[in-house]
């Protein structure tokens, strides 16, 4: 059943929350098992020579064949910190601007409800980040386009020298200037409608997920308060039981149940953070999707610009060759004022223009190819993303419902126990 269509639940060794559906058909994950096994605190000097504490994560990889054949092979391991993951992702985004880049777990704790630690060193935060980092690697390693990247492979296998290797690729040079990208959105004439619609959708997805995260955090705050106030019942029942002869035992045990009711909310809300993490993944994904759509606008705009440039140069040459001035130019004005130039000069300029036109034609060819490549690859990836999103989010909603059911069961249990105590009064 699993071999048939190549789709499988990602297991990859961790007993964490990896409930992604990833394709084993893709290259890297077929050859290799990947997991982020542990986290550890380290100390060291940072870029400006100051002492800092940070967390590193252990990436373990193992040949998939070995595991399949049952060979007990110790995994290869590499320690990476969060900033290195960020660097890898930045590299992937700039190198493959037509792919929707898988998300990283958040840099800082956001959408916190008040009790949740916003401290990056908090063990619960670190654990959830570990899971997020693993999800990132699994998604990248199973992505048909990204999984073959050499830098990715070295990230997973070479601890030292990787950073230098990344910078050597010169990927930063591919960064589009913010201004150009921004301008393209407004000045592009004929972007493909599907990309425009998808960009609109990405903005809606971003808005909805962030609204949901905010609302959920507020709800968590409130439900926390309700549960904790019940703890006061625990204390007062206990005190009251001290002056009662007959009712004392029942009240006392009821008080204990109220205490445990109040305490139960902490675990419940901690578990709910996993749901919030899944939503955050898609908040990040929405941003990545938007970036791909805007890249389309940019490539389209650049093509349009190059085409226009070619047209105007051809026109200039035309005018120069025929002597008919159809458009305004300073040359035309100076010609009128100072007389036409000499034939040699004209020839020289014609030749130059011809060269420029050849360059412009090359440019149009290149830009067309770029645009085409982007459209093809991006749209395919967008469709893949769409399916993954629908699957992942449906899973997330299912697991959220399961959490709610669990919460209800716990609540009922405690109140039933409390009721039993009251019966004994």
């Amino acid at each position: 059943m699993m071999a048939e269509n190549g789709k499988d639940e990602a297991a990859a060794g961790s007993d964490g929350e990896s409930s992604l559906t990833v394709e084993r058909d893709s290259n890297l994950l077929r050859r290799m098992e990947i997991c982020v096994a542990e986290a550890e605190k380290r100390s060291g000097k940072n870029a400006i020579g100051m002492q800092e504490t940070f967390t590193v994560y252990l990436i373990e990889t193992r040949s998939a064949d070995a595991a399949a054949e049952g060979r007990a092979q110790p995994p290869d391991s590499v320690w990476r910190r969060y900033s290195e993951f960020e660097l890898l992702r930045a590299y992937l985004i700039l190198t493959y601007p037509f792919f929707v880049a898988p998300p990283l777990p958040e840099k800082r704790a956001e959408f916190v409800w008040h009790k949740l630690s916003a401290d990056n060193m908090d063990p619960d935060f670190v654990e959830r980040r570990r899971i997020g980092l693993e999800n990132f690697l699994l998604r990248v390693a199973s992505h048909p386009g990204l999984s073959n990247d050499k830098i990715l492979y070295r990230f997973l296998t070479e601890e030292a020298c990787w950073k230098e290797a990344v910078y050597e690729t010169g990927f930063q040079d591919k960064a589009d200037s913010r201004l150009r990208a921004f301008g393209a959105t407004f000045r592009v004439r004929s972007p493909q409608k599907c990309f425009i619609d998808m960009k609109q959708y990405s903005e809606e997805l971003q808005s909805h997920t962030s609204q949901l995260l905010r609302a959920r955090a507020r709800v968590a705050d409130r439900v926390y308060a309700v549960y904790k106030v019940h703890g006061n019942y625990g204390r007062v029942f206990s005190e009251w039981s001290g002056v009662e002869k007959v009712m004392g035992d029942g009240l006392q045990s009821a008080g204990h149940h109220m205490d445990s009711y109040a305490a139960s909310i902490d675990e419940i809300l901690e578990e709910e953070e996993h749901y919030a993490d899944q939503l955050k993944e898609y908040l990040c994904y929405a941003e990545a999707l938007r970036a791909v759509c805007r890249k389309h606008e940019l490539t389209q705009f650049e093509l349009e610009t190059a085409s226009q440039d070619l047209v105007s140069k051809k026109q200039q040459r035309d005018e120069l060759a025929t002597g008919m001035v159809r458009t305004f130019s300073f040359k035309g004005v100076t010609n009128k004022l100072f007389g036409q130039e000499a034939p040699e000069q004209r020839e020289a300029r014609l030749t130059m223009l011809d060269e420029l036109i050849a360059e412009a034609e090359d440019s149009v060819t290149v830009k067309t190819a770029e645009r085409e490549e982007h459209v093809q690859k991006a749209w395919a990836d967008i469709l893949r993303f769409k399916e993954e999103k629908d699957r992942d989010l449906r899973e997330a909603l299912l697991s959220y419902a399961a959490m709610q059911i669990n919460m209800c069961k716990k609540g009922m249990q405690v109140w039933s126990n409390t009721r039993e105590s009251f019966l004994k009064m």
């Binding site: 048939e4 269509n5 789709k7 959708y201 809606e204 997805l205 909805h208 997920t209 609204q211 949901l212 609302a215 959920r216 507020r218 709800v219 705050d221 409130r222 439900v223 308060a225 309700v226 106030v229 019940h230 006061n232 019942y233 007062v236 005190e239 009251w240 002056v243 007959v246 009712m247 009821a254 629908d390 989010l393 449906r394 909603l397 299912l398 959220y400 419902a401 399961a402 709610q404 059911i405 209800c408 069961k409 609540g411 009922m412 109140w415 039933s416 409390t418 009721r419 009251f422 019966l423 009064m425």
Partner: protein, 419 residues
């Protein structure tokens, strides 16, 4: 208990009871412990309490064949030319010989209950008289004619009558008889007595200080202090929980609407998201019900016990006074006897009798009160637990049905993929 329409939390304005034709023109019905809700012909809206069973198990005294059961039931808003007030129908079934008929049905207003309580206090000074719900309500804060207020008050009045009817001494009081049977209560007589009563109270209270309270009554006093303190704490906690639940409810509603609006921009995910929105909304409804119950059933009973405790403290104080008076007079008489050999005055003996009677009555009432308290609180707290269990049940059901829907969709997708 009300018919049909959903209600919000107490203190939100509710629609008033519809006006009905003059009470005397309506046929009197005899009521039996029947269904909770009944709509009589003629379009009147009724609120009924059927607490017949309460009488049977509340105290051993009423298990005998000479029992009075007073059912407080239908209420109607009565409009007269002078003022507007609510009357309550009091229905009684009895096998007692002091009553001429086996069944009675009369109309009484709050003033009448107040009168009854006053008479009972006058005529049975050594007994613990159950409390009435509070007399004065601030206009503008609480709607005196709102369904909820009236119902809460009615339950409390019903409880008052039941406790009186269950009391082995109070239930034989002639004023109770009059209250339950007379078509028109002649209350003018009562006012005259009241002024006389006031004088005698002043007479007693003057100048006697209690030296030593017997340990058993001391223990009662201490218990009552602690108990009323704890009750106050529980009341505050319950109110705090209600406030927190109300804020929780507000956020939950917003939460549901976010899911709904997200669903609008999705295709495949539209149904699951709408499903979650629906679940959250269902939970909102369940939470509203829970809060309403706590507000309407739990808090009023709790507060009534605070009143009851205060009443008990007053009785203890009166007992202390009667002991103080006795001891004071005794001391004075002993001194006089030493001086001029006069015999022990009758007054002193009367005081002694009064004090001993008081002590005995109080002890008996205390036992009864403790027993009732235990029953009442057991019922109250179990009710609270039941409401909470019910709330979680409703929520769980909603989420479980969503899971079924989502999982069906999943298997649907999987089978269509492999095909």
């Amino acid at each position: 208990m009300s018919v049909g329409t959903p209600r919000g939390l107490a203190s939100s304005g509710q629609k008033p009871i519809t006006e009905i034709p003059h009470p005397l023109s309506a046929a009197e019905e005899s009521l039996s412990p029947g269904p909770d809700v009944s709509i009589s012909s003629g379009g009147e809206k009724d609120l009924e309490l059927t607490n017949g069973t309460l009488v049977e198990n509340s105290s051993p005294a009423s298990a005998s064949s000479t029992s009075t059961s007073a059912l407080l039931s239908r209420l109607q808003k009565h409009v007269s030319t002078m003022e507007t007030y609510i009357t309550y129908r009091v229905s009684t079934k009895t096998t007692r010989i002091e009553f001429d008929l086996p069944e009675y049905s009369v109309r009484r207003r709050y003033q009448d209950f107040d009168w009854l309580r006053l008479k009972l206090e006058e005529t049975q000074p050594t007994n613990l008289i159950p409390p009435l719900p509070e007399k004065f309500v601030m206009k503008g804060v609480v709607d005196r004619f709102s369904e909820e207020f009236v119902e809460t008050r009615m339950k409390a009045l019903d409880k008052f009558l039941k406790r009186v009817a269950d009391h082995p001494v109070l239930s034989f009081n002639p004023h109770l008889n009059a209250f339950l049977t007379a078509k028109d209560l002649n209350k003018r007589q009562g006012l005259a007595l009241l002024t006389k009563m006031g004088e005698s109270v002043k007479h007693v209270a003057g100048g006697y200080k209690l030296r030593a309270r017997p340990p058993e009554f001391n223990a009662m006093g201490e218990y009552l202090d602690t108990f009323s303190q704890k009750l106050g704490t529980i009341d505050r906690i319950a109110q705090r929980i209600l406030r927190e639940q109300s804020e929780y409810l507000t956020e939950l509603r917003e939460y549901a609407s976010v899911y709904s609006s997200w669903a609008g921009s999705e295709e495949e995910l539209q149904r699951p998201l709408e499903g979650v929105a629906g679940c959250v909304t269902t939970c909102c409804g369940a939470l509203e019900d829970l809060s309403e119950n706590m507000s309407q059933d739990f808090l009023p009973v709790l507060r009534e016990y605070v009143l009851y405790t205060e009443t008990m403290k007053n009785v203890l104080r009166k007992r202390d006074q009667s002991q103080a008076e006795y001891e004071g007079r005794l001391e004075a008489a002993v001194l006089r006897k030493q001086e001029d050999r006069t015999p022990m005055p009758l007054e002193v003996e009367k005081c002694q009798d009064k004090m001993e009677c008081f002590n005995a009555d109080l002890k008996a009432d205390w036992e009864r009160w403790q027993c009732n308290k235990r029953q009442d609180f057991k019922q109250l707290l179990i009710g609270m637990a039941d409401k909470n269990i019910n709330y979680y049940e409703k929520c769980q059901t909603a989420w479980e049905s969503l899971v079924t829907v989502l999982q069906d969709k999943q298997t649907e997708d999987k089978t269509s993929e492999t095909n």
